[in-house]
């Protein structure tokens, strides 16, 4: 189906004004040609078309050079008066119609869309298509922009797209106000563009995200798709086709909470590896074993309850609604979360409290009340509105679940360093001692700041020097790669976390491991070390020095003359 072309519509709408203008000019010109004038000697002089066109042109445009070439007769002056009025009215009318056509909301939308279309078509660098520019979307787009990744953004809400355009984001993401659940919109936004690396569906509606996933799969199978979904049915149905990755914020958070309670070290590791690099490491606190109080038994509350109940944690649940099917045991249904009900739920002997209603004010007030009753509680808050971040930070809860934050972080990590997910999955199987050892190693190299993570891919594009050395059969070990480019007997503060070779995953590979072309290595280090190591992968002189300890002689002639050097 073809979309209406902007130019055709403009031309169609401007037909009448343009014809009017032509007619006014024609009538004026003919008038001057017909009306006899007189030259300086008083002879009859007929104005030619050339002169008439010249005169009308400068009169109609209000330039007015005067009566050229001879002074006009009264008949000519009469006609000039007529010409002036009709031509000025003609121009006003035409320009007025042009402006009103351009400001017509429908045309304006069409203009914006056609601009967007051409820009997307002209994109010649890898980009992601982000559907939904709410809390999550905007955070993600900002984070990706800082990594130098371009994005194309769709949102139904015009004000959000305006916000995107007003924001001074690096790399200027392209935005369009449109309903992403319509396949045609996805097509316009460049799903079929070969530079489109993936589609990220973050709209508020699970249904829309499912539709986006479906259309993406049909448009371009194997295109990477990340979607957010909350209801378990939609999660399974998006996962059921293609290789889609689905993030369910409630599940993610319930899982985190489980880790906090059962495997604190693992939790810390995953926080460090998915956090914002260079942030100071804060001293974490962990809850003791015991009973918990859960406020709110909606979707989030249920997800948390299911997860934690299955590992044997006991809960007292308080919810405002009475009509919940199969309420858990020990629950107070149809009851405000106030001092009495909190006391009834045993807040004084509980170890922690989770406020999981969808209302920020209720969550805050419940937690503040609970803190009065039992200051040693481990407090978990759910935050719904981005604007409330300031007060949630102030309140110093041990854990704040902010949906936008959780999803943006997950998606960003998955896009930037997909190996992080594999690595964290592998570490689940390791014991506490192993994880603690790794944690202290990381702490040792980063000086109390969160590390920077990246993937080194041994491919001609990402690391030309390293790739050619490996492909030529040279023995390159991890240790040589992370040696200092200035002094190769010293090592950069880098920890290789995971080596992926075809389908084999090697967590925390040994430093003597030999590298092969095609390997992917997940590394973690302070940012400066990353920059230094990039040197070795890109520059063959540096790599040559690291491998042999000799300076590289680039001239063929010199190499022949000085065979020993």
């Amino acid at each position: 189906m073809s979309r209406p072309n902007l130019y055709y519509i403009l031309m169609k709408r401007l037909r009448v004004p343009l014809i009017t203008l032509i007619l006014i000019y024609a009538v004026s010109i003919v008038g001057f040609v017909l009306i006899p004038g007189r030259d300086n000697e008083g002879n009859v002089w007929m104005m030619s078309y050339f002169h008439a066109f010249y005169f009308v042109s400068y009169t109609a445009s209000t330039i007015g050079f005067g009566e050229i070439p001879y002074a006009f007769t009264d008949a000519q002056r009469l006609w000039t008066t007529v010409t002036i009025y009709i031509s000025v009215i003609g121009w006003l009318y035409s320009i007025g119609s042009l402006l009103s056509v351009l400001q017509d909301p429908a045309i304006y939308r069409l203009r914006r869309e056609s601009k967007f279309r051409t820009k997307v078509k002209r994109l010649r660098e890898p980009f992601y298509l982000v559907c939904g520019y709410g809390d999550t979307g905007s955070r993600l787009v900002q984070a990706l922009a800082q990594e130098g990744v371009r994005t194309v953004v769709l949102d139904k809400d015009e004000s959000r797209i305006n916000d995107l355009e007003l924001r001074d984001t690096l790399g200027r993401p392209l935005g369009l106000t449109a309903d992403a659940s319509k396949p045609m919109i996805l097509e316009v936004s460049g799903v079929l563009n070969p530079y489109c690396k993936g589609v990220i569906a973050l709209t508020d509606s699970d249904q829309t995200n499912l539709l986006i996933a479906l259309s993406t799969e049909l448009f371009k199978p194997h295109l990477r798709l990340l979607a957010r979904a909350e209801s378990p049915e939609i999660v399974t149905s998006i996962r059921s086709f293609g290789g889609n990755e689905v993030i369910s914020p409630f599940e993610v958070f319930a899982e985190r909470l489980e880790m906090v309670i059962t495997k604190p070290s693992h939790y810390l590791l995953s926080e460090w590896l998915t956090g914002t690099p260079n942030q100071a490491i804060s001293d974490p606190t962990f809850p003791k074993a015991g009973t918990w109080v859960l406020i709110g038994y909606g979707r989030f509350g249920q997800a948390v309850y299911r997860r934690l109940h299955s590992i044997g944690i006991n809960f007292h649940v308080i919810d405002l609604k009475e009509t919940i099917a199969n309420p858990p045991p020990n629950s107070l249904m149809g009851c405000q979360a106030n001092i009495e009900s909190l006391k009834l739920a045993g807040i004084e002997s509980a170890v922690g409290i989770i406020a999981s209603t969808s209302d920020d004010a209720i969550n805050l007030s419940v937690l503040m009340t609970a803190r009065e009753l039992n200051p040693n509680l481990y407090m978990v808050a759910r935050q719904t509105q981005q604007d409330n971040s300031l007060i949630f930070e102030r309140a110093q809860f041990q854990l704040v679940m902010n949906r936008g934050d959780v999803i943006a972080h997950q998606v960003f990590t998955l896009l930037r360093t997909p190996l992080t997910k594999d690595f964290l999955q592998l570490t689940r199987g390791e014991d506490k001692a192993w994880v603690d050892a790794l944690l202290s190693r990381i702490m040792g190299i980063t000086q109390d700041k969160l590390p920077y993570l990246w993937e080194t891919k041994i491919t001609p594009r990402h690391s030309p020097a390293l790739y050619h050395a490996c492909a030529a059969g040279e023995r390159v070990s991890l240790k040589q790669l992370i040696a200092k480019p200035q002094q190769r007997d010293q090592t950069l503060p880098i920890i290789p976390l995971l080596l992926k070779r075809v389908d084999i995953l090697l967590p925390v590979p040994d430093e003597e491991t030999l590298l092969q072309a095609g390997d992917r290595i997940l590394m973690c280090a302070p940012y400066q070390a990353y920059e230094q190591m990039q040197w070795a992968t890109q520059n063959q002189k540096v790599l040559h020095y690291l491998l042999t300890g000799e300076e590289w002689v680039s001239s063929q002639l010199l190499r022949r003359l000085l065979p020993n050097s």
Partner: protein
């Protein structure tokens, strides 16, 4: 009957007839070639072009193209005439006249194509 079609057909045929009226007659003799008619032909041709604006069909595109050809040729003919009459030393010589008339002959061909297309389109509708 559709008023829009009437206007459209009217201008297309008028462009052709005016063009023909200017073209017909002895090539070298200015008496046979009236400036009013050339002017009228040019104005009608411009209006026809604008009427053909904004039709995105294949037929519409061809209509638009033929009309543009006629416009350009008539405009060139008019400019040559103006040049010959006002700027060149020699004035409107038979040689200049021949150029003007033959260029308008080119526009005539384009207008004929336009009319043929119009007739073909009308016949294909059969209503």
């Amino acid at each position: 009957m559709n008023l829009e079609k009437v206007i459209f057909g009217f201008f297309i045929v008028l462009a052709l007839t005016l063009n023909f009226a200017f073209f017909a007659g002895e090539m070298t003799n200015p008496i046979y070639h009236n400036t009013f008619i050339l002017f009228a032909a040019l104005v009608v041709s411009l209006i026809t072009t604008i009427l053909k604006f904004g039709d995105s069909s294949h037929m519409g595109a061809i209509f638009f193209a033929t009309s543009l050809v006629a416009d350009i040729q008539l405009l060139v003919a008019a400019i040559i005439w103006g040049w010959a009459a006002h700027i060149s030393e020699a004035g409107v010589t038979p040689a200049a006249m021949v150029t003007i008339v033959s260029i308008s002959g080119g526009a005539l061909l384009a207008n004929i194509v336009s009319v043929v297309l119009l007739v073909a389109e009308t016949l294909s509708i059969r209503r």
